[in-house]
C-alpha cells in the first residue's frame, strides 16, 4: 500500500470538527521493498489471520498492550519465518511498521514503512483517529517528496517497543500454530 492511499483524510465539511491536520509525513519503504530488506529473496506467502476476541484478550493480558485490529497483514516464508505489517498509533504519530520474526519467534528486524504526525487538533482517542486513515477521499494530501531533515525530535520509540511486545506474543499464541 502506498502512503498516498494511507493519507487520504476525510474532511467533514459542515460538521462540528474537521479531520486532524497531517503536518509531517515521510515514506520510507513499500511493503515489497521491506520484504526484500528484511527477508532478501526468501519466498513468502500471505497468511489469513483474523484474531478471535479471546485471542485479542489473551495477547493483551500477556503483552500488556492493547490489540486494536483483529485482522493482521501477515506473510510466512517457506522456512517458517514471518513478515508482519502493522499500524502503530501514538498520541500524535501514526506509522506503518514491518516486523520480521524468525521461525522461533525472535525479532529479526523492524522497518518503519512510513510515518505521519498530526497536530492542530486534539486527538484523544487513537481508535477514532484510525477511522480517518485510508478512508474517504474528499481531500487527498499532497506529500512533499523532499526529505525533511528535521532536528528536534518529538517521536517516541515507546509505541514501537509496545508493538514488538504485542507481535511477539501474537506469534507465541497464534502464529506459531499456523
Amino acid at each position: 500500500m502506498k502512503v498516498g492511499d494511507l493519507l487520504k483524510v476525510s474532511l467533514m465539511v459542515g460538521a462540528v470538527f474537521v479531520g486532524p491536520k497531517i503536518t509531517l509525513a515521510e515514506e520510507f519503504l513499500t511493503v515489497d521493498e521491506a520484504q526484500k530488506v528484511l527477508w532478501q529473496s526468501a519466498t513468502m506467502n500471505p497468511v489469513d489471520v483474523d484474531l478471535t476476541k479471546e485471542q485479542m484478550k489473551s495477547i493483551k493480558k500477556s503483552s500488556d498492550v492493547r490489540v486494536i485490529n483483529s485482522k493482521m497483514r501477515v506473510w510466512k516464508t517457506v522456512d517458517g519465518g514471518w513478515f508482519i505489517v502493522d499500524k502503530v498509533i501514538g498520541k500524535h504519530e501514526n506509522m506503518d511498521v514491518a516486523f520480521a520474526l524468525t521461525n522461533k519467534g525472535r525479532v529479526k528486524g523492524v522497518e518503519i514503512l512510513n510515518y505521519y504526525e498530526t497536530y492542530g487538533w486534539e486527538v484523544k482517542n487513537p481508535k477514532w483517529l484510525h477511522q480517518f486513515v485510508g478512508k474517504g477521499s474528499e481531500e487527498h494530501l499532497k506529500l512533499d517528496k523532499q526529505i525533511k531533515n528535521i532536528s528536534g525530535a518529538t517521536l517516541s520509540c515507546r509505541h514501537i517497543t509496545d508493538a514488538v511486545n504485542r507481535i511477539t506474543h501474537t506469534w507465541d499464541q497464534v502464529l506459531r500454530n499456523l
Partner: protein, 277 residues
C-alpha cells in the same frame, strides 16, 4: 535518473533515518544504507545502558575497583565525556545516570552508587577503565552523536549524498548548501519549523517539546533543567553537537564553550525567534 533510498528504523531510543541519493544502481545504495544501519546497531549494542551484554552495562556492573577492558570506540566516547566534564567544570557528568534513575527516566538495574561520586572517579589507563567510587554511567547525552559520526565515517568523501538523522542528531556528508528544519519549541504548535542553512556537517537540537522538564540534570543547581527554548549546535562532528546542546542549557556564559569546541549555536523560542550565541 537519480536513485534514492530512504529507510527508518527504531534505534538508539529514537527513530534513525538514513537517506542516500546517487545516480547509480539502487542495489549499491541499498548496501550502503544497510552498512550504516549495521554500524549503528553494533555501536548501540556496545554503548547501550539497557543492553545487559553491552560494554557500558559491564562497566556499570563490575567497574568499581576493577579495571575493565573496553573497545576503542567506547574509549573515545569516555575520554571525550571526561574532557567535557573538565571543560564544563562538572556540568557535563556521565555519572548523573543515578539522577535519571531516581526520576525514572532510565531503568534501575540496582547498580551501586555513592552520593558524592562524579566523572572524576572514572580512571582510564590504556584501554582499561575503572571506577574508584561506586558509581555508574549513562552515555545518553553523547553516544548517539558518536554513533552517527562512526556510521558516516566511511562515506565522508563518498560521491553519494548521505543524510543520517538519529532523532534530530543530524549529519550530512555533503552539507554545503543544504538546509535543516528546526522544530519550534511550542508545545501547542509542534507542527511549526524554521529552516536554517547548514553551517557545518552536523547539527543536534535539544528541547523538551511536550515535556516541561528536560532530561538534563544540572549538578550545580541540583535540579533538572526546565524546558523553555530549544538549543541547536552546529559542529564538524555530531558527538560534539549532541553533548554541547546539553551543556549550553546549563551555562549562562556560553562563549568559552563555543570557542573551545569550535561550534556555532543558537536557541529558538516558542515564537520561532532565533537567537545566535
Amino acid at each position: 535518473m537519480l536513485n534514492q533510498v530512504k529507510r527508518c528504523k527504531p534505534l538508539l531510543g529514537t527513530f534513525v533515518e538514513v537517506s542516500v541519493v546517487l545516480g547509480s544502481s539502487e542495489d549499491e545504495i541499498n548496501d550502503v544504507v544497510q552498512s550504516i544501519f549495521d554500524s549503528i546497531e553494533n555501536m548501540e549494542k556496545m554503548m547501550s545502558y539497557y543492553d545487559q551484554s553491552s560494554e557500558v552495562f559491564k562497566l556499570n556492573k563490575y567497574g568499581y575497583n576493577n579495571f575493565i577492558e573496553v573497545s576503542e570506540d567506547l574509549l573515545k566516547v569516555l575520554k571525550f565525556s571526561l574532557k567535557l566534564g573538565e571543560v564544563s567544570e562538572g556540568l557535563f557528568d556521565i555519572t548523573v545516570a543515578e539522577k535519571m534513575v531516581v526520576r525514572k527516566l532510565i531503568k534501575d538495574f540496582g547498580f551501586d552508587y555513592e552520593e558524592n561520586s562524579s566523572y572524576k572517579d572514572i580512571i582510564i589507563e590504556g584501554n582499561k577503565v575503572c571506577f574508584t567510587k561506586r558509581t555508574f554511567i549513562d552515555l545518553g547525552g553523547v553516544a548517539k552523536g558518536y554513533i552517527v559520526d562512526k556510521a558516516m565515517k566511511s562515506f565522508l568523501d563518498s560521491e553519494l549524498d548521505i543524510v543520517i538523522n538519529a532523532g534530530g542528531d543530524l549529519k550530512m556528508n555533503k552539507w554545503r548548501g543544504k538546509k535543516a528544519q528546526i522544530r519550534i519549541p511550542n508545545k501547542k504548535k509542534l507542527d511549526k519549523f524554521i529552516e536554517v542553512d547548514m553551517a557545518n556537517s552536523s547539527i543536534a537540537t535539544s528541547a523538551g517539546y511536550n515535556k516541561d522538564i528536560l532530561a538534563i540534570f544540572n549538578k550545580k543547581k541540583n535540579s533538572f533543567e526546565k524546558s523553555v527554548d530549544s538549543i541547536s549546535v552546529f559542529a564538524k562532528d555530531c558527538m560534539t553537537c549532541d553533548a554541547l546542546t546539553k551543556i549550553l542549557f546549563m551555562l549562562d556564559k556560553k562563549d568559552k564553550m563555543l570557542s573551545e569546541f569550535d561550534v556555532t549555536a543558537f536557541s529558538l523560542n516558542k515564537l520561532g525567534e532565533k537567537n545566535v550565541y
